[in-house]
């Protein structure tokens, strides 16, 4: 039987943060991910904002972990070479009661440990963000608000963990969990010292000393296998609009929140690391975690809020819309609601109801989860061979001339542009297919290289990418699929 010290269920931002942190120690760690790639759930469809920490209730785990995570992120993005922009954030008010809310947020922020918040008037806010609506009368300025490319963050943590010995298993869905006598679940099959036996849907089994249940939308189900069910978690969908790359001369550069709409931070505007502008999300309860469809009303709402904040925004430059689903705890009163990271059973830690600011909080929540496991007896002995640095793939066109010359000698396909909106060459595609944790789908390549994310939305690159991937993977073009849920681009050869 396959055994491991720690099994992490879920390769989203939190699972990968735990994996990367545990890879510092002399431990055998296995990540089980039901999808074919890392970061396939809530971690891939969000704003990419690293919040400062003034949104959550003062002193809550959400608030503390957000502030701590925001600070930890700076080391993380440096070591892992993840694109990151210190944009700063503005929460703006249009009315007096909004100003009152800003004061409340400022006080909450201070309770959570944000030390550098300041309240300014509308004119001062417009100095920071010149296109901000003339109707804004005050703003809370948060210098530590930042933006990151969420998928690159998740991938970088996973790749670094993998290099340091963590094993990743994909298409690995945990069906049920048995425990030894200590856990009260009483399975006699387990090797000594191993508390849990995980049964996967493919029929394989894995024995683990410790379990970190970081499974996002599946975490509640897994938790209920070892702990009396207590939290109800429902899917809540958020819709986003993606604007084309901004003109640097008059780009919106801050993350902009509005005080009058505070549910989960409400609909915001966020520049992206790559120069686009995002608007969203909405908050709408949906019937399943796999319901990631945008609605006309939702997109209209986002459009309206975006224009309220920046009235001269050109909505005809929207190039795409998308929707993501987050895990929302529904049986706890709003003022009591918080992230849950707990030892649900002996040696079994669960993270429940992690939604925004979960991306920001992930490094802090990972430390907390690991500390829970330590309390349960996990021995953390530093591995001197741990290498904290992950070299990022630098696209060919962003490299210095000397590099380009050398790469072209090695592989002339570096000169062949596949995606012209985002400047990706065939050599880049080859490179990511050779990396650790390589992509298998068009979306997988897209997440790593941005092929198809530009203004032509894949019109140019998709057929070329299908042909290139099929050739590199040595499969027919009809075998190449869009993403996790299938979707062939070519149903058959025409003749």
């Amino acid at each position: 039987m396959e055994t491991t010290d720690v099994v992490i269920i879920g390769a989203g931002v939190l699972g990968c943060a735990v994996a990367r942190e545990l890879s510092r120690y002399r431990l055998s760690v296995t990540v089980l991910e039901r999808a074919h790639d890392v970061g396939e759930g809530s971690s891939k469809a969000n704003s990419g904002v690293l919040h400062a920490g003034f949104h959550p209730r003062g002193g809550s785990l959400k608030g503390r972990s957000c502030v701590e995570g925001n600070a930890l992120m700076r080391t993380l993005v440096r070591e892992l070479q993840v694109p990151f922009v210190e944009s700063g954030g503005l929460m703006v008010a249009f009315h007096d009661d909004g100003v009152e809310k800003l004061r409340k947020k400022a006080s909450q922020g201070r309770q959570n440990g944000v030390t550098d918040l300041s309240l300014v008037d509308g004119d001062a806010a417009r100095v920071l963000e010149p296109r901000l609506s003339s109707k804004v009368i005050a703003a809370l300025v948060a210098p530590t608000t930042a933006v990151v490319t969420p998928f690159h963050l998740v991938l970088a943590m996973a790749q670094n963990a993998a290099v340091n010995g963590v094993r990743f298993r994909f298409s690995a869905q945990v069906e049920r969990v048995e425990g030894n006598a200590d856990t009260g679940l009483g399975s006699a099959l387990l090797p000594a010292g191993h508390r849990y036996l995980l049964h996967l849907t493919d029929g394989s089994r894995l024995a683990a000393r410790f379990v970190a249940n970081m499974a996002g939308d599946d975490a509640q189900r897994l938790d209920s296998l070892v702990h009396p069910a207590d939290y109800e978690i429902q899917p809540r969908l958020g819709e986003f609009l993606v604007f084309d790359k901004q003109d640097p001369a008059d780009a919106v550069t801050h993350v902009i929140y509005q005080a009058e709409e505070t549910d989960e931070g409400g609909t915001l505007l966020a520049p992206t690391v790559e120069g686009n502008l995002l608007a969203g999300p909405t908050a709408r309860n949906v019937s399943g975690f796999d319901v990631t469809a945008s609605s006309a009303d939702g997109l209209e709402h986002v459009r309206r809020v975006a224009l309220k904040l920046i009235p001269d925004l050109d909505v005809s430059t929207v190039i795409a819309n998308f929707a993501g689903v987050r895990a929302n705890i529904t049986n706890v009163a709003k003022e009591q609601k918080d992230f849950v990271v707990r030892a649900s059973a002996e040696g079994f830690v669960s993270a429940l109801g992690i939604k925004n600011p979960g991306l920001t909080a992930s490094p802090a929540l990972a430390l907390l989860a690991i500390d829970e496991l330590r309390k349960q007896g996990l021995r953390l002995e530093l591995d001197p061979a741990f290498d904290p640095v992950r070299p990022a793939h630098v696209p060919f066109l962003k490299r210095p001339a000397a590099d380009q010359e050398r790469l072209l000698q090695e592989d002339p396909t570096h000169g062949h542009v596949i995606c012209r909106c985002e400047g990706v060459t065939e050599g880049d595609v080859r490179a990511v297919l050779r990396e650790s944790l390589p992509p298998h789908t068009i979306d997988g390549v897209k997440k790593r290289l941005r092929t198809g994310m530009g203004r032509c939305q894949g019109a140019f690159c998709t057929p070329r990418l299908v042909a290139t991937m099929a050739a590199l993977l040595d499969v027919p073009e009809t075998a190449i699929v869009s993403g996790e849920r299938g979707g062939h681009y070519v149903t058959r050869m025409a003749k």
């Binding site: 795409a320 072209l408 019109a459 869009s482 979707g487 070519v490």
Partner: protein, 496 residues
């Protein structure tokens, strides 16, 4: 052109030349884009006497979008012949080659900057055949980069994001160049020419084209009849796609009539099952490479063809681009204190022709629910495109001349059509060879000819006009190649 040809296919190593052209001089003209616009601009500039002219093309072949436009209807105004796209491309490619044009394919221009203090423009390009990345210097630049298509994201259609939602031009490239069929149950959003032409292409490839939706009744009337009515494809004007269904793969679309405010009347919505949604809702000139460039015509920078604005007819693109190439040459010569050579008579006569908007164009703003009169006949005897009717006693109305009357009578008794399509080609980089029938075939036989084409494999090399099959599907007409395809690299060896 032979010497230059051999040089470029082996790689010009321009990357190592310090950005200069032959003899260590800057280029006279760099043409960005090797489609009909770029080729015409290069022809005019070369005829005007410029010698250091470089054409850069991102595809592995010249012709731009034309090689994927295997249908006919190109050049009717300028040449008096209804060429297919590949034929029109080859015509202009050969004219450029004959004048000694140097083209580097597989090369993407990243940016254009300048003018510098020495008045030179800077072209930043990358490509394998260019020898890597190069910063090229030129006295003038013609931007002939064409258009890109509006996408589903720009339309803001809500719903899911499955595979199977693609722009019509992408589908055309897949089906006609890559031999990739993206699905077999098709809805087309947009009744412009590209949407209508792709509806017919899918039908001829054996797909079920379920519906064409036109916000407005746009597109040439000729295409409404030959692409949609000929094949009994349902079409609805004033309707659009309100929602996209299906994860992974497209499952269907909700369609609904548009209301006056640009929204949908969802009380009348209809669900249509399909696995392909073609977005054919307009073209956007592609000029992003000029983002950091302040130059204009007086600094030697010209924009022509669809990159300046979308044109209905390639004839217009050719004319405009010949003029742009000429102006670039005049600029360069004036700066050098010389006179440009005069253009060839052929080019001069093309520039002088008047290209009129065809009559058979549907007016914008047709009311919702509008249908074309079932008995309307669009004359294709000349580019005017008269809309005619034949009554029960055989009397023709709406025609402007005798040719029209003859055309209308034939159309009402035994309608015939030119067939255009593709067949497999082996022994070349290209996957498909575009073909057409040597004569018009009975309309009722079009599907038979298309089916026969699916069983034909041709061995490269093939020359334009070469007979691929005699008496195709018993029509009496022969099937001929509409493009030269060499056995070497690229389509028709067009890496020069």
């Amino acid at each position: 052109m032979a010497e230059a040809a051999r040089q470029t296919s082996g790689g010009l190593r321009l990357a190592a030349s310090g950005g200069l052209g032959p003899a260590g001089e800057p280029f006279d003209l760099i043409v960005v884009g090797g489609g009909p616009a770029g080729l015409a601009a290069a022809v005019a500039a070369l005829e005007s006497g410029l010698t250091r002219v470089l054409l850069l093309e991102r595809e592995d072949f010249l012709g731009g979008v034309l090689p994927q436009c295997v249908h006919d209807g190109f050049g009717l105004h300028l040449h008096g012949v209804s060429y297919t796209g590949p034929e029109y491309a080859q015509l202009w490619r050969e004219r450029a080659e004959a004048l000694g044009a140097v083209a580097v394919t597989g090369t993407t221009v990243l940016a254009i900057a300048g003018p510098r203090e020495d008045r030179l423009l800077v072209v930043e390009a990358v490509g394998t055949r260019l020898g890597g990345r190069a910063t090229l210097l030129s006295r003038s630049v013609v931007v002939a980069t064409g258009c890109r298509e509006r996408t589903r994201g720009q339309l803001g259609v809500p719903g899911t994001r499955p595979a199977g939602v693609l722009t019509a031009g992408t589908a055309q490239y897949m089906v006609n160049v890559k031999n990739q069929l993206p699905g077999d149950k098709v809805v087309v959003l947009g009744s412009g020419d590209i949407g209508l032409i792709m509806a017919r292409r899918f039908k001829l490839e054996g797909a079920d084209v379920r519906l064409v939706l036109g916000e407005e009744a746009t597109g040439l009337l000729r295409n409404h009849i030959r692409c949609v009515r000929d094949f009994d494809i349902p079409i609805r004007y004033g309707w659009g796609v309100a929602y996209i269904h299906g994860y992974g793969r497209l499952k269907g679309v909700t369609v609904a009539p548009m209301d006056s405010s640009g929204g949908f009347d969802m009380t009348r919505r209809v669900y249509v099952r399909c696995n392909v949604l073609l977005i054919a809702t307009g073209l956007i000139p592609e000029r992003e490479i000029l983002a950091g460039c302040s130059a204009g015509p007086s600094e030697g920078l010209f924009v022509c063809g669809n990159a300046s604005s979308p044109h209905d007819l390639v004839d217009q693109v050719t004319q405009e681009s010949l003029a742009a190439g000429r102006r670039a040459a005049e600029m360069v010569c004036a700066a050098a204190g010389t006179q440009p050579q005069s253009l060839s008579e052929q080019t001069l006569s093309l520039l002088e022709m008047t290209v009129t908007e065809p009559k058979g164009r549907a007016d914008a703003g047709m009311p919702a629910g509008f249908e074309w009169a079932a008995d309307a006949i669009v004359c294709t005897a000349c580019p005017t495109g008269c809309i005619m009717r034949v009554d029960e006693r055989g009397r023709v109305s709406g025609n402007a001349c005798k040719l029209g009357r003859q055309f209308a009578r034939a159309e009402s008794s035994n309608p015939v059509r030119l067939f255009t399509g593709t067949v497999r080609v082996e022994g070349a980089d290209a996957r498909l060879l575009p073909v057409k029938t040597t004569a018009e075939v009975p309309r009722a036989k079009l599907m038979d000819v298309a089916r026969a084409c699916r069983r034909i494999h041709v061995q490269a090399p093939v020359a334009l006009g070469q007979v691929v099959r005699t008496d195709i599907a018993g029509t009496g007409a022969d099937l001929v190649a509409t493009q030269t395809i060499g056995s070497a690299l690229g389509l028709s060896g067009s890496g020069f």
